[in-house]
Amino acid sequence: MKTKLTALAVTTALVAPAAIAEEMTIVSWGGAYSKSQLKAYHEPYSEKTGVTILNDDSSAEAVAKLRAMDEAGNVTWDVVDVVAADAMRLCDEGLAMEIDADTQLAAAPDGTSASEDFGDLLVSECFIPQIVYSTTFGYRTDLVGDTAPTEICSVFDLDAYPGKRSLEKRPINNMEWALLCDGVAKDDVYDVLATPEGQDQALAKLDTIKDSVIWWSAGADTPQLLADGEVIMGSTYNGRLFSVIEEQKQPVAMLWDAQVFDLDGWIIPAGLSDERKARALDYIMFATDTQRLADQAKYISYGPARKSSAPLVGQHAELGIDMAPHMPTDPENAKNTFLYNYEFWADYRDDIDAKFQAWLAK
């Protein structure tokens, strides 16, 4: 789907006749997420500069497509929205441009440098963080009995919570949760998971609920399964659950315990012409400043990646509810959290994924 903001560009061109008709292609995930970016970033940017922004909803296949474009020698994308793990992969493959946070990103309003404002979230040289989201569980309030689950191990407790649950069809996150509920201390999880015995232990724990699991591969699956009552609890991205709970008013609640933080943000493809590169950097400078990141949270319940944006998060643009308590980073929700271990999974993904798939097929 390609939405043109031509009308907008035309009006701005009339206001500012000096602006040249320019275009850039921005790739993102589509749906409510792209809409939040359209409102918070694209529209104000087009208004300011007169650049026409073309949207392409290909983020799910961005890594493969960028590689194919690179091999064909014709990269047509200017800015691409990817999760941090993909950004790292693109950086490793030499497909994304390295960014110097302090010179190429805006400083916070109080003068704090961008590298300090983003802090640890700059997980790769090529990655420009945008939001913090989390993978966490939602449950059907009417199907879990009298005591609602409050902690992650309820997922593995078939006696207290009989019924189906949905988990993502990949080892990432599931293996960590399994170990955590099998008595491994949080700090040791990745050390244990690095050993073949630890991997077996995690799979053995998952084995105990295997027959009661529906495996999902698209983020929309769990919300649908919860709404249909096919599962009593399931993991998905917190923004998806927000929309099931607050927008669709389904009897679903969040179990924030042991939510896994992950990052989503921008990369600029390597090998753009100087002109396009300059335009992409200009967009990035604008779209990741403190106010813009806070603006996005008006449309979707993902936390802004800058520390300086957090106090500016206000109310939902349409529902009029306070967004802060729905952020995964809210202190009340973030009592027990994980941060996606990028280094670990970059190394172990191929190996553990093969084991996980073989286990699934058993």
Partner: protein, 424 residues
């Protein structure tokens, strides 16, 4: 007799050239014209079909990245006995440093790390992290390197690390094909993967088996429909035909999602069965996210591909044959089985080939309704193309799938005969 004596020389055309030559020229012209006519199609097929498939086949053996990124190291590794159990000597570490400094400059070292990580866990971060340190070394001035490199990461002091690099340094490798059949390339030659990582052969078998089941169920469901279509009066047949074609025109995703709504435990079928009291509320049938789900949804989706060829073959079977058989005393069953059925076999053959070959490469439907037991090998290929970026392995899997299809086609030709396939 007089005719032959007067025309003893070569026959001449009106303009005096030998007839043979003139004829050949006319034919050549005709051929050129024919070629020019099919040229657009030919070029299209070449560009969009032969070249991509060729390059895919090539990717499954191509393995230039190690030798390109670390040329001096690969040359030095030839002198090192990988099975000796001893670390390589200083010369290799020096060559490695030179190579790495150049590779880091060109930002190619992390790409190599990802490539080798498919074979050996940890290579990705080893190259990424060491890159930051090795960058500071000067290949000309900082010798000796062996201890410095091992200091940077002790994995460079593991024999295994070097074994992996050496094993995968060949320009053309059988490694991807070995991986595709649950084996791996090691210093000691090809070895089986550890048992807990073996999955691909199983998936190949499952894909073939389930495609077979889907084809058979399409035959069973499609045959009576095609028979009805061919034997009803034209008006009724046309209405029925639209019913067959309607799902054909509906988006694949919509149909698959519709099956989800029908088959899930809180879905339409289960609700009705519970309401009728046939099934207990706490014992709802599991009809989706397993093999059954894939078979039902794919049979439905592929059914028109079976019905249409069957129908057009059955239309050509004259009803008089059946009447003749019956007039000679055959029962209904005998007339059908001995006369009608053999005549309709070419339609079954054509439909079966279509359905089987389509289903063997199906991806989206198994992904949505297949759960864990109902997914095909193509789902793994998609994973390696778009997620793990292991295109070499994906290409090897695709090549094997292509070969399997060709072998089956050949076997079909031997057993049934490809002349015995009709689309109408």
């Amino acid at each position: 007799m007089t005719d032959t004596s007067t025309q003893s020389g070569p026959m001449l055309a009106a303009d005096g050239t030998p007839l043979k030559k003139s004829l050949a020229r006319a034919l050549r012209l005709q051929k050129m014209r024919a070629l020019a006519l099919i040229a657009p199609l030919l070029i299209f097929v070449l560009v969009s079909f032969v070249i991509p498939i060729g390059s895919m086949l090539f990717r499954s053996v191509e393995n230039g990245s190690v030798a390109e990124t670390l040329p001096l190291t690969v040359a030095e590794l030839q002198n090192w006995d990988a099975t000796s159990g001893e670390l390589p000597d200083e010369a290799l570490y020096a060559a490695f440093t030179t190579d790495m400094v150049a590779a880091i400059e060109a930002k190619k070292h992390t790409r190599l790390g990802s490539r080798l990580n498919y074979e050996h866990t940890g290579m990705s971060s080893l190259f990424r992290k060491s890159g930051r340190q090795i960058k500071k070394l000067d290949p000309a001035a900082d010798a000796p390197f062996k201890d410095k490199i091992i200091d940077i990461d002790k994995k460079w002091g593991d024999v295994e690390t070097w074994q992996v690099i050496k094993t995968h340094s060949v320009k053309y490798t059988n490694g991807y094909f070995l991986n595709a059949i649950d084996m791996q390339r090691t210093v000691e030659g090809a070895k089986a993967q550890p048992e807990d990582k073996q999955i691909l052969i199983k998936l190949f078998q499952r894909t073939l088996f389930m495609s077979m089941v889907i084809t058979v169920s399409c035959i069973l469901l499609g045959y009576p429909v095609a028979w009805l279509l061919a034997n009803l009066p034209a008006r009724t047949a046309n209405v029925l035909m639209i019913l067959v074609l309607l799902p054909f025109w509906t988006s694949l995703l919509v149909r698959t999602s519709a099956w989800k709504v029908m088959l899930q435990q809180q879905g339409v079928i289960n609700e009705v069965l519970v309401w009728l009291g046939i099934v207990a509320d706490d014992a709802r049938l599991v009809m989706i996210n397993n093999q059954l789900g894939t078979i039902i949804a794919m049979t439905h989706i592929l059914l028109p591909f079976m019905i249409l060829p069957m129908y057009s073959v059955m239309q050509t079977i004259k009803p008089t044959y059946l009447r003749a058989a019956k007039s000679m005393g055959a029962t209904n069953w005998t007339a059908f089985w001995r006369v009608y059925f053999p005549l309709s076999v070419p339609g079954i053959g054509a439909g079966s080939i279509l359905v089987f070959i389509l289903s063997i490469g199906y991806y989206i439907t198994p992904e949505i309704v297949g759960g864990t037991k109902g997914v095909f090998i193509s789902n793994r290929i998609a994973y390696h193309i778009s997620s793990s970026l292991n295109w070499g392995l994906a290409a090897a899997l695709g090549t094997i799938l292509l070969a399997v299809v060709l072998v089956l086609y050949w076997a079909y030709d031997k057993i049934v005969g490809i002349d015995n396939v009709k689309l109408g």
